[in-house]
Amino acid sequence: MSSCGAPDQSLPANVDAGKEIVLTGKVTKGGEPVGGAFVRLLDSTGEFTAEVVASDAGDFRFFAAPGDWTVRALHRTGNGEATVSAAGPGLHDVAITVA
């Protein structure tokens, strides 16, 4: 059981992007991927929901309920955040730049 694994771009076989809301993206700095950031999912009121560690290539992924989300990345070289509106099932891309 891994709770904060570092996901790659592909989805696990048991995940159906036609049914689930998947928030996925990459953490970058100056156009280059940043690995190992702590990526936090915050709900529309700013409340903490989940946290994962981005992979070496900067990738992260969350499963979420419908709604507006803020994804915030913390890294030793800087922090950054982005918002994403997920109305329904599918892959919702969210790119985060840390500075």
Partner: protein
């Protein structure tokens, strides 16, 4: 007991790497983090493999704990500094566990691995071995550990603090959104419990909030300071984090962790269960 007695900063820790009588211990659910890089000199404890009985649903016994700490090279008079990933969930669990078996000097590294990494402090992947010791544990201090009968009796009588997310509390989810949906037979919470998610006790860098903020947080949520308290979550690790805040930081005297937590309670026959959000 004050904050300085139970929490150390990352800066203090870095200054005390290799100091005699100080042992750093990384505790994780997934031990692979340690293997790719850990605080220099730190030894590893695996939450599942090292601390749980391999057959029964319980902890390793006193002799097992003695064997584990002896093998890790930890002596009775060492100061143990615990840290880990997941905002210190499993390190806080280990802190509670070390207290349960009577270790005298144990501290939590404030912010755990996250704060250490965000500060850009050194990590190394070299294997660590310490000379074996002869560790002697005490009997479990059951004033720190709640069992199911006591939890049922605590309904409407003691503070019950459910530290899971609002969706787990209300019965929408059986586990945190990013963990497998497993274990308890039903969803919901223990009647009369207040819901204060563990995350509210922490800053975004994983350090604990100030004593003033913590006191206000639990007071606001309805914690009765005149009553004993039992904290629970799904498997007892997030509630160790809150147990630490309530007993070790705020100094409330009668605070127990219910390690059976929702995984046990939600599978018991005949006990009351509530669903829905907190009033």
């Amino acid at each position: 007991m004050s904050r300085e007695d139970v929490l150390v900063t990352a800066a203090w820790s870095e200054e005390n790497l290799g100091a005699p009588g100080v042992v750093f211990v990384e505790v994780d659910e997934d031990a692979s983090a340690y293997d790719t890089g850990h605080i220099p000199g730190a030894v590893k404890v695996d939450w599942r493999k090292d601390l749980q009985d391999p057959v029964r649903r319980d902890f390793i016994d006193r002799a097992g704990f003695e064997k584990l700490l002896s093998a890790r090279g930890i002596a009775n008079d060492d100061t143990v500094v615990l840290y880990g990933g997941n905002n210190n969930w499993f390190a806080a669990y280990a802190y509670w566990y070390f207290k349960l078996y009577g270790h005298e000097s144990v501290k939590l590294l404030d912010g755990g691995r996250k704060k250490w990494e965000l500060d850009g402090r050194p990590l190394e992947a070299d294997p660590v071995s310490r000379p074996e010791t002869t560790y002697s544990a005490k009997d479990q201090d059951l004033s720190l550990r709640a069992f199911r009968e006591e939890v049922v009796e605590a309904i409407n009588a003691k503070n019950l603090v459910d530290v899971r997310s609002p969706d787990e509390f209300s019965g929408k989810l059986a586990a945190p959104a990013h963990l497998p949906q497993e274990q308890a037979q039903v969803k919901g919470h223990i009647p009369s419990a207040i819901n204060v998610p563990w995350s509210k006790a922490a800053n975004e860098d994983g350090t604990f909030r100030s004593d003033e903020e913590l006191r206000e947080l639990y007071k606001e949520a309805g914690l009765d300071e005149g009553k004993a308290t039992i904290a629970y979550c799904r498997i007892g690790e997030r509630s160790s984090h809150t147990w630490f805040a309530l007993r070790e930081l705020l100094g409330y005297s009668d605070v127990k962790n219910y390690d059976g937590s929702w995984t046990e309670y939600g599978s018991l026959v005949g006990v009351p269960v509530e669903i829905g959000a907190q009033n």
